[in-house]
């Protein structure tokens, strides 16, 4: 008979050994991975903490007014003043820096992987089960290997946030590009587009609303995870909540919670506004696409978006 006390698969010990082995032998690799995240995080956080709160509120108010309209603009101003007056401005900025860092890296990793998956069925067959596992694994579980490989603190926290937040962006990029109207692709090919032109002129612009929808999901995942990573020493609003819990200080924990909710709503509204923007209204949507092309597009395309003709400004 099978006696579960004596006969069992020692998977736990295998994993433990494997992680320890990786941590021991690949430390330089993980230091290298850590470095850009560290730099980016410090840069963003330095910038945010150095910005006077009132100036920050003004910038965010204008941004949300421009992107999402008056209602969201008003909400943003009120929410940010509440955060300021609750005395949690500093941890809020830390959390924002953590999220921003994670988002930037998610975009850099996620969109190219998504594009690859959309263009190659084989790549998608490999990536898809990995994403399934990543998205069904409880986010807590990521914390331990992250600590063992990257240590504790805000930077390892950012790593965990990235791991949790990147899957939706990959999925949406893949779906968006695969969903582009077949006739548009044929039109591109029929007029002699190279693979690259097909991607930049047709697939990405057409898939952009879907990709931005994915970005919205990624932002929300990052927000949620940014709280959880307080458990491995990441600073920010999560830490406020964690400290409140530790001291049984319900008030303090609640304040942290309010800050998280307000930030989450602001970020959600802003990213959603960008994603759902009607391209016909001539708009941030298009400008964002243009900017995206300028940043990532490579040679010569900047000129197209910079020289604005009457026809162009609608575009």
């Amino acid at each position: 008979m099978l006696d579960a006390d004596t006969v069992y698969i020692p998977l736990d010990r295998w994993i433990q050994t494997a992680i320890e082995w990786i941590a021991l032998h690949f430390r330089p690799a993980f230091r290298t991975v850590r470095w850009p995240i560290d730099e980016l995080l410090n840069l963003i956080e330095g910038g945010l903490q150095a910005t006077p709160p009132l100036l920050f509120i003004l910038i965010f108010a204008l941004l949300s007014l421009w992107l999402a309209g008056r209602r969201t603009g008003v909400f943003t101003v009120v929410a940010l003043f509440v955060i300021l007056l609750l005395g949690i401005w500093e941890p809020t900025m830390t959390t924002l820096a953590l999220i921003a860092t994670a988002i930037v890296i998610c975009v850099i990793i996620g969109i190219p992987i998504g594009i690859l998956c959309a263009r190659s069925d084989r790549a998608w067959r490999i990536v898809r089960p990995i994403l399934d596992v990543m998205q069904t694994t409880p986010s807590f579980v990521y914390l331990i290997p992250v600590v063992m490989l990257f240590g504790v603190g805000t930077v390892p926290g950012a790593v965990a946030v990235i791991v949790v937040a990147v899957p939706p962006l990959i999925r949406f990029t893949n779906i968006g590009i695969r969903g582009v109207d077949r006739e548009l692709i044929e039109a591109g090919i029929a007029f002699g587009a190279t693979d690259r032109q097909l991607l930049w002129e047709i697939q990405l612009p057409q898939a952009l609303p879907t990709i931005l929808g994915g970005l919205n999901q990624t932002v929300l995942m990052a927000m949620v995870m940014s709280v959880i990573v307080a458990m491995i020493g990441a600073e920010g609003l999560g830490l406020v909540v964690l400290q409140g819990l530790g001291r049984l200080d319900v008030g303090r924990a609640a304040i942290g919670g309010i800050g998280i909710v307000l930030m989450a709503i602001i970020l959600d509204r802003l990213t959603q506004a960008v994603a759902e923007r009607d391209p016909k209204k001539g708009s941030p949507f298009a400008r964002l696409a243009g900017a995206g092309r300028m940043i990532m597009g490579g040679r010569g395309r900047g000129a197209d978006t910079a020289t604005s003709t009457p026809a162009d400004s609608k575009n």
Binding site: D181, E186, A187, A190, Q197, P205, Q206, A311
Partner: protein, 375 residues
Amino acid sequence: MTNRIEIRDLYKIFGSHPQEALKLVREGKSKAEILDEASAVLGVNNVSLSIPKGSISVIMGLSGSGKSTLARCVNRILEPDAGQILLDGEDITTCDQSTLREIRRRRMSMVFQNFGLLPNQTVIDNVSFGLKLRKVPQAERYRKAGEMLETVGLSSWGSHLPGELSGGMRQRVGLARALATEADVLIMDEAFSALDPLIRTDMQDELLRLQHSLHKTVLFITHDFQEALRLGSKIAIMADGAVIRDGTPQEIVLDPQHEYVAAFTRNVDRARLFDASSVMTAEPVDHPGGAGFVIDGDGRVTGWRGNESDPPSPDFISVSPDTVLLDIAAKAAGRKGPVAVVDDSGRFQGKITESALLAGIAGTSEPQNKGRAHA
């Protein structure tokens, strides 16, 4: 007439093992057997076709006949599995990707059923799309695109988005985009099929008008036989992936050869398709001494008489050789007198008797001469 495109023994098979299926095809197995044995669908089955330079050739077939597949093989959006496609004598099925790209950029363009316009780009940007891919500078491509928009009558719509235009206008944009690259070969895949009937007729007129001055080599795909008659100088009819009949509209209507083709030609309005030259007889006089036209030394008709002893009467009807039967009937109705067919300078070409006219319209006798199509 020189051929711009020659399609030779072309096959296109959809399935995971096309070469295996191809072997079955060459063993003479039917479409159903191939689907059964190789789980492959025979899209284009041994098609050979010539597309003459500077005129509109129509491929007509019902859905599933393989007509769009064939069109997509011509510019290799779909890769044919066997056979050749010669563009000006050069086989494009074997050329490499960059050569193919150059051909698509400069020598062949395409118009799509649902227009295939980029919804987030303005009309002028859509029209200049092909030039942009070719890296033509913006000012230059806008100038060219502007010209093309004028050609299709949309010059004031350049800064609008396609979504703001009606279907007919959108397809004009699609047409302008195809013309902007100055490609000589235009593949038009069901280009007017998504339009309302009235707009469709408009667009057919527009295409004929443009073709009158541009003389492009047009490969026009349609499921509408009337449209095929109206536009095509040559028509190829496809069924089950194969061309079952091709020729001029008259040849096909006069002699369908297939029951399948006859089903389309049965309802053709012959009165509009055939012209005077197809029913006229060349002899001015019925029989020596009988009724007939009097012709002077220059070949001009001076009159008509019932028999040799009558004085010539000026009471007759004259039509040009390309007047369609319907118009001749309208002219002849309510007037006594025979019909003379005369050329531009008034020279006698032939005469049309009442019975020949009626027989031509009813399709009960084969017209003596093969005239031009007037659909």
